[in-house]
Symmetry: C2
DNA sequence: TCAGTCTATGTCGGAACTGACATATTCGCA
DNA sequence: TGCGAATATGTCAGTTCCGACATAGACTGA
């Protein structure tokens, strides 16, 4: 999956703004990554807000602690599906979710 | 994937409202399905609006016509990832996308 | 009617994603 | 400091999802 390029770089400490044109990511790819990033942040925020540990959240959504850690780290092996699932399971309201989808 | 239950039923002509408690889908599952459904509709709407054929859209996102058809049909084999990707590729604005995430 | 375009459906091999596990690291706090 | 809880990282086998292809059906205008 092409999107992973950016995520890998980000993980290596790059800033998103710079790398976009450097890698010549298409607008579509950039949008998708931004969206995911926004959701990822929302997951962590929502989880913390509800005072859930990663293990707690994992149980709620029948996943594992390591997967939650990867979600929050923006790991390339994590799909949008799973991020959204985590967001929902973390108790985020519909409003929260919608807000997370606000990318400009 | 558990979510498919509902999608299969829906495809068979069921109404979502009824089946939810019948199948005892958790709130989380229901939310996810509703979200996907909303996005799926947005894809078709956006594609038509821009007068793109399924083949056109497929080329834009380097997928295939049959995949687009499946996306729009809410096929169980289609992930949220792909739906969102299609939505973006169809030219939907950020505002459109956000609107599609408005589920209550 | 029929040719051309569009959409739907089924299938398949390969790619991507998953939960689970092991283990390392970080983080309070007594 | 050191201990327990929380989080991070790596790996892997099983599952899901993917594009591609074949083909069927639907729709439109001539």
């Amino acid at each position: 999956m092409k999107t992973n390029k950016l995520e890998r770089l980000k993980a290596a400490g790059w800033e998103v703004g710079n790398t976009e044109d450097f890698l010549q990511l298409s607008d579509e790819e950039a949008k998708l990554v931004a969206l995911k990033l926004s959701l990822v942040n929302a997951v962590k925020k929502s989880r913390i807000k509800r005072k859930l540990s990663q293990t707690d959240l994992a149980q709620r959504m029948k996943s594992s602690q390591s997967r939650i850690a990867k979600i929050e780290a923006g790991d390339p092996s994590v799909s949008l599906d799973l991020v959204v699932r985590a967001l929902i399971a973390s108790g985020a309201t519909t409003r929260d979710i919608q807000a997370a989808f606000t990318v400009q």
